[in-house]
Amino acid sequence: MIEISLKGRGGQGVVTAGEIMAKAAIVEGKYAQSIPFFGGERRGAPVSCEVRISDQPISLHRRVYNPDVVTVFDATLMDLLNPLTGIKEGGILLINTDNPRRYWNRTYYVDATGIARSLGLNIAGWAVVNTAMVGALSSVTKLVDIGTAEDVVKEEFPGKLGELNVEAMYLGFKEVRALD
């Protein structure tokens, strides 16, 4: 079983990203959970979501304490929340930034904000980076196939919006890099 922690800010699409991952895994015949966390959510406030993916039925309902993968949608959260708390040894950090730092020995980065902005994926001034991040997650972790994620995104966002999001996802998939 793999556990993923997703951290971002309200408006970036963190919960939807978790649901796309879980849904894609379930479509592929696996078991999955997407668990959003709610406090005083509003645009800009920190938001988190946790995902479990497994070949076996999942009976846990506790929170995730030792993630295999930590995905950070906004680099300013690195100092604010300490998202790496509890990360497994050998775990992966994926971060949305165009200016990566070595936060962790296995750091991957992608400029998801740049991708979203280039495609006009903005809501109320916020770049909606979730699909670019899902693409990057799929590329780095291989937990779900990018084609399956594409089907899920098209189902969630019909029409033109879906096409843009699929494009963002493939750009995230291609542009994600490991920090040497």
């Binding site: 379930i26 959970q33 997407s34 668990i35 009976s59 309902h61 506790r62 929170r63």
Partner: protein
């Protein structure tokens, strides 16, 4: 009965319950929004708006009115549904007792949530458990699949001619309502034959009567006695309906309780709701180390399965009961029922109280308590603070 493979979906708990409700085809709904139930209401409204659920959605100004309006519709012969949580369930309480006392078939989903004060939107079972005397059948789900299954079953149970009681289906707020999981849903045609249209009416419109009038003492107590008997009769009916559902779904439905590795166990943990899954993990880990432990999950809380609980636990060396709700000045609500079940049997029963107001409980907490129980080092009541 033919098992038809269902359709696998990825659904959050609220949408899984809404899907089950759509398939059960109630004719009248009245739901007032409250966290963490609101997204279920939104989904149901969408179904009604798109014509996928041909039902009248009554827009009400409160939970009290929500239940009052569907109470009337159910008396008039309609299949009805409502859902609520926490403060909303409290506000609905006067009508809960009306519906229970009159034995009106109603299904209500409760997205369990802590009660004020202090204020909390997060999960515990205090709202649900505080309604244990309202003459409602009460069932509780462990995961999203079970929330879907129990909702379908609730309509059948409520309308069964030997039962005719309202049914409350509890599922943990956020932990299940907002968590997306793999769910296998039945085909509409399978649900149609499992829950045929309601056959009986409570009133005959050619011969009008008043419903719920003032009753002199000798009638009042007799009506209450009948309700008690209906509640007792329902045990057998619920088990039959679970078995029938097992046949059509191909998924084990157990009975009023589920025994997991508990048959030969010396020490058993008893629980209800979502954290039963975490208890399952704790039990498996201890079994791997050779400890004879098991889990007894309570699926139906009212009527309380005294016989099953006694039969599974009477020969245990120790029992640990997990409570996410508390009767202040008395003790954990579930543990008290388990103690009553074991009256006359010499089995030590310990209480583990936790998860209040959304406090996370991990398998490790449960494992430690079980280990302490086996070592004889567990206090009679432990709070996970």
């Amino acid at each position: 009965m033919q098992v038809t493979k269902g359709v696998v979906k990825a659904l959050v708990g609220n949408h899984a319950v809404a899907y089950a409700v759509k398939q059960a085809k109630p004719q009248v709904l009245a739901v007032y929004p409250i966290t963490p139930q609101t997204t279920m209401l939104e989904k149901l409204s969408e179904y009604v708006d798109r014509g996928e659920l041909k039902a009248r959605m009554i827009r009400v100004e409160s939970e009290h009115s929500a239940l009052a309006s569907i109470y009337g519709a159910a008396v008039a012969g309609a299949r009805v549904f409502t859902a609520t949580a926490s403060q909303g369930l409290l506000y609905m309480t006067e009508m809960l007792y009306w519906a229970g006392g009159q034995r009106v078939p109603i299904v209500a989903a409760v997205a369990t949530r802590a009660l004020a004060s202090p204020w909390s939107i997060l999960d515990d079972h205090q709202d649900f458990m505080s309604k244990r005397d309202a003459i409602w059948i009460q069932m509780m789900a462990e995961n999203v699949q079970e929330a879907y299954d129990l909702t379908i079953q609730a309509f059948r149970i409520s309308e069964h001619e030997n039962v005719v009681l309202p049914v409350m289906m509890g599922f943990d707020g956020f932990i299940l309502t907002h968590t997306m999981e793999r769910v296998e849903v039945l085909h509409d045609s399978v649900v149609d034959s499992f829950i045929p249209p309601r056959k009986f009416n409570l009133v005959d419109f050619t011969d009008p009567v008043g419903v719920g009038p003032v009753a002199p003492p000798e009638d009042y107590i007799r009506i209450r006695f009948e309700a008690k008997k209906a509640m007792e009769r329902s045990k057998r009916v619920i088990k039959e309906i679970f078995r029938e559902y097992e046949d059509i779904s191909g998924r084990p439905q157990h009975g009023l309780v589920e025994c997991f590795m508990c048959r030969d166990a010396d020490y058993v943990v008893v629980s209800m709701g979502a954290w039963s899954g975490d208890a399952r993990v704790a039990v498996k880990r201890l079994r791997e180390r050779g400890a004879k432990v098991g889990l007894l999950k309570v699926r139906v809380f009212r009527p309380f399965p005294f016989e099953e609980v006694r039969d599974y636990l009477r020969d245990c060396k120790g029992v640990l009961v997990m409570d996410r709700a508390y009767s202040f000045g008395s003790g954990g609500i579930l543990v008290n029922e388990v103690k009553v079940s074991l009256y006359g049997h010499d089995v030590p029963v310990h209480s583990l109280v936790g998860g209040l107001g959304g406090m996370d409980v991990r398998p490790l907490h449960i494992q430690t308590a079980l280990e302490n129980l086996m070592e004889g080092k567990l206090e009679e009541e432990r709070w996970l603070l």
